[in-house]
Amino acid sequence: MRTEITINGSANLASNYISWAPVPCQILLADAGETANPVGVRLSNQNPSQGGQIVFYSAVPGPALDELQLTLPVDGSPVSFFIAGKFGNPSTTDKDAIIETQDAGTGAVLSTTALMVRIRKNANGLTAAERDRFLSALARLNDRGMGRFSDFRNIHDDAGSPEAHFNTGFLPWHRAFILDLERELQALDPSVTLPYWKFDEVARNLFTRDFMGVPDAIGTLRFGTNNPLQFWVTDMSPGIVRQPLFNTTTQSAFVSNEATTLNLGAAYSRFARMEGDPHGFAHTSFGGFLSDIPTAAKDPLFFMLHANVDRLWAKWQWFNRRFDITSRDTFTFLGSAGSPGSTRIGHNLRDTMWPWNQITGAPRPPSAPGGNFPDSPIINTPGPIPAVRDMIDYQGVLNPASRLGFDYDDVPFEF
C-alpha cells in the first residue's frame, strides 16, 4: 500500500516549500494493495524534535493540529487538507521537514514527503550553512556585475525614487521589490530566503568578513577569502563602500527600537511615519552606498535592511489585524490615482506598481528595468503586474488567493 501527497497543487518537488500560512494539499492512495475498503491514515511529523515542523488542518479556517487523521477512498480519489509550518520551528536545510503517512490501523509507514518550512530569519542568527547558501546565491545573481542583479540596482535610483518613496506606497513597493529579489535567489537555490538585518539590535554576526564584510580605513569592505561577495560588482566597479557610524560589535544602528515603531499607531497613516525612523535612520547610520537613495541598492545589505522594514510592517499588520483592503486603517489611499482623495500615482491601493507594470513616461519614470513580476514554483501571486493592494494580505489571512508565499520567523499566521 502506498500514498502520495501533493503540495501547493503540484506533485513537483519544486513546490514543496511552505511558510506559516496554510497551503492546500491532497493525499491519495496510489497503490491500494489488496484492500477493498477505505483506508484510515495518520499524518504527522516524522521527527518532532528535529528539522522544520509542520501543522495540519482538515479545513481552513480551523485548528492547527500536530497530526491529522484522514480516510482515503480505495479508488485513488484525492482527499484535501492543509499544512503550514509550525510557528517557531522553521527549517534550516532544504527538505528537512518530513511528513510521515502511516496506516492508522497498523502503524505501517505508507509514504514520507520531504519539504522545507522556508522562513525569512534574523541574519544575525543564521547557521553558517544558511549564510553561505544565501551569499552564494546573491553573488551568482550579481555574477560579477553581469547578472540579473543589475536590474535591481537600476530600479532603485533617482528616476524611480518617487515610485518607491515619500508616500504611502513606500512599504508595499519595497515589499514587492525584495520579494522579486528573493524569487530570483530561489531560482538559483530554492532553499534560500532573504534574511533581515534587525537594525535595532547588535548584529555582530552580520558585520563580519564571512558575511556582510568589514570596512577598511576608508570604508571599502573586506571579505573573507571564501566569501563570494568579494567578487561583487556594480556599475562596473568591484567592491562595496560601507562605513558604519556606530560600533557594529556593541551597538545597534541609530534607530527607534521595534516596540516604539510598532507603537506608532494602529492606523496605517501613523505607522507609515516609519519611513523616516527607523528606515531613514538605518540607511544613514552608515557612510557609503547605503546612505543615499541612488546608490543604496548597490550594497546587498540594502535588501536585508528592507527585509527588516518589511518585517516590522508585517508584524504591525499581524498585531493590529490590518489585512482588510477596504479599511483606511490598513492602507490610507484606497482608490486609484486621479480619483477623488487620491495621492501620487503608484501610492494608491488600486494603482499598479512600476517597474513591473512596464509603464514608462511621465508621471512614471522614463524606463522600467527588469520586466514583469516573476512567478515562483509555489505560487503565481501577485501576477506579472502587481498593484499596491496585492502586497497587503501577504499571508492570505482574509483571502487565501492573495498569499505571496513568504513569512518571517517572528510574525505568525493567525486566522
Binding site: F87, G88, S136, A139, R140, D143, R144, G145, M146, P162, H165, F166, F170, D216, A217, I218, G219, T220, T225, N226, P228, Q230, F231, V233, D235, M236, S237, P238, V241, F254, S256, A259, T260, T261, L262, N263, L264, G265, R270, R273, M274, E275, G276, D277, P278, G280, F281, H283, T284, G287, F289, S291, D292, I293, P294, T295, K315, F319, P412, E414
Partner: protein, 325 residues
C-alpha cells in the same frame, strides 16, 4: 508558543513602552536635568501637535540650551521637520552656521539626509541642500566635511568632483586623503579620469590609493593589460593582485580564468590569492570547461587533500563538490 500566546507576549512588550506624551512633557521641563530630559526623548517618529512642535523648535533654536539636547531634539522630530518647508530651512541654516555647536550641525546633517529618504517636501529643497553641502566641504570639522563631500560625490556633483581631482593633483588642496578621493570619484567615473588612475597605479601615494585606483580601472577596457600584468606580478602585494584579479574577472572573464588556473597550480604562489582564484572559478567560471579539465581538477583535488592552508583546502573542497565527476 502558539500564535495566541505569542500575541499576549508581544502585547505585554508593547505596553512597556512609556507613554509619548509624558516623555514630551519631561523633555520640555527645563527644571529637569539634561540626563532626565534626554531620557524623555522616547518616540522620535510619533506625530506631534502644533504646540509641541513650536516648543521643541524653541529648544532647538535656543543657543543657551545644552547642544546635546538640541541635537537630540532635532533628530527626534525629524519626521515633522520633513513635513515643513520652514523646519527644513531651519535645519539647513543650522548645518551651514559654523558658529553653532558641532553636535547640532551634525544632527542637522543627519536629519536632512534622512529626509532625502522619506520627505516629499525635501525633494524641492534638494538644490538648497546640495548648495549647503558645497558650502561646508572645507569645514574645520572632519566628520561633517567628509559626510558632505561623500553625499555630493554620490550625487555626482561636479564641484566636488573638481575639488577631489585638484586634491589628487596638488596635495595641498586635498579635501580628503588620496585613497578616499579616488573612492569618491568612483561614484561617477569619467573616461578622462582613467589616465590619472593608471598613473596612480604606477606611482601610488599609498597602497590604499592603489587599491582604489585598481578598483575603478575595472570599468576601463583599455586597462585590461595593466590589470592582467598586476595580477601576474609576484612582486606585487597579494592584496593588490587579488583586487586586480577581481577587476580582470569583470573585464575579461576568459583571460582571468586562464591566469587564475595558472596561479592555483603554482605552489610558489600566495595561498590566499590561490584560494580567491579557486573561489572565483567555483562560482563564476564556465562549468563545461572546468568539468572537462582533468589535469587542473587533479591539482585542485590535491590541494583539497594536502594544502597546508586551511582556506585553500576549504576553497578546493567547494570547487571539487561542484566539479568532481
Amino acid at each position: 508558543m502558539d500564535a495566541s500566546e505569542y500575541r499576549k507576549h508581544v502585547t505585554e512588550e508593547l505596553q512597556r513602552v512609556p507613554a509619548q506624551q509624558a516623555g514630551n512633557r519631561d523633555f520640555l521641563d527645563k527644571s529637569k536635568s539634561v540626563s532626565e530630559r534626554r531620557t524623555a526623548l522616547r518616540s522620535p517618529a510619533a506625530p506631534m501637535g502644533e504646540d509641541d512642535i513650536a516648543a521643541w523648535v524653541d529648544i532647538i533654536r535656543d543657543k543657551e540650551e545644552e547642544p546635546e539636547l538640541r541635537a537630540s531634539a532635532l533628530q527626534a522630530m525629524s519626521t515633522d521637520v520633513g513635513h515643513s518647508h520652514e523646519l527644513i530651512d531651519m535645519a539647513l541654516a543650522l548645518l551651514s552656521d559654523a558658529s553653532e555647536p558641532i553636535e547640532v550641525r551634525r544632527s542637522a546633517l543627519r536629519v536632512l539626509q534622512v529626509l532625502s529618504f522619506s520627505s516629499s517636501i525635501f525633494v524641492s529643497k534638494r538644490p538648497e541642500y546640495l548648495a549647503t553641502l558645497r558650502s561646508i566641504v572645507d569645514d574645520k570639522d572632519t566628520q561633517l566635511r567628509q559626510q558632505a563631500i561623500e553625499i555630493l560625490a554620490q550625487e555626482k556633483d561636479e564641484y566636488v568632483q573638481r575639488r577631489l581631482i585638484e586634491g589628487l593633483e596638488h596635495r595641498s588642496k586635498a579635501l580628503v586623503g588620496p585613497a578616499k578621493a579616488i573612492q569618491l570619484l568612483g561614484y561617477d567615473v569619467h573616461a578622462e579620469h582613467y589616465p590619472m588612475l593608471r598613473q596612480m597605479v604606477s606611482h601610488p601615494p599609498s597602497r590604499a590609493a592603489k587599491r582604489e585606483a585598481v578598483r575603478l580601472l575595472a570599468a576601463d577596457a583599455s586597462s585590461k593589460d595593466l590589470l592582467s600584468e598586476i595580477f601576474r606580478d609576484k612582486q606585487e602585494h597579494p592584496d593588490i593582485r587579488n583586487l586586480s584579479g577581481i577587476a580582470l574577472q569583470s573585464l575579461a572573464p576568459s583571460e582571468f580564468e586562464e591566469q587564475a588556473k595558472k596561479i592555483v597550480i603554482d605552489d610558489q604562489e600566495d595561498d590566499k590569492l590561490r584560494s580567491t582564484c579557486v573561489n572565483a572559478l567555483t562560482h563564476f567560471a564556465n562549468p563545461a570547461t572546468l568539468s572537462n579539465d582533468a589535469v587542473f581538477n587533479e591539482h585542485v583535488e590535491r590541494l583539497r587533500q594536502s594544502s597546508t592552508s586551511k582556506q585553500l583546502r576549504q576553497a578546493s573542497a567547494g570547487y571539487m563538490s561542484k566539479y568532481s565527476k
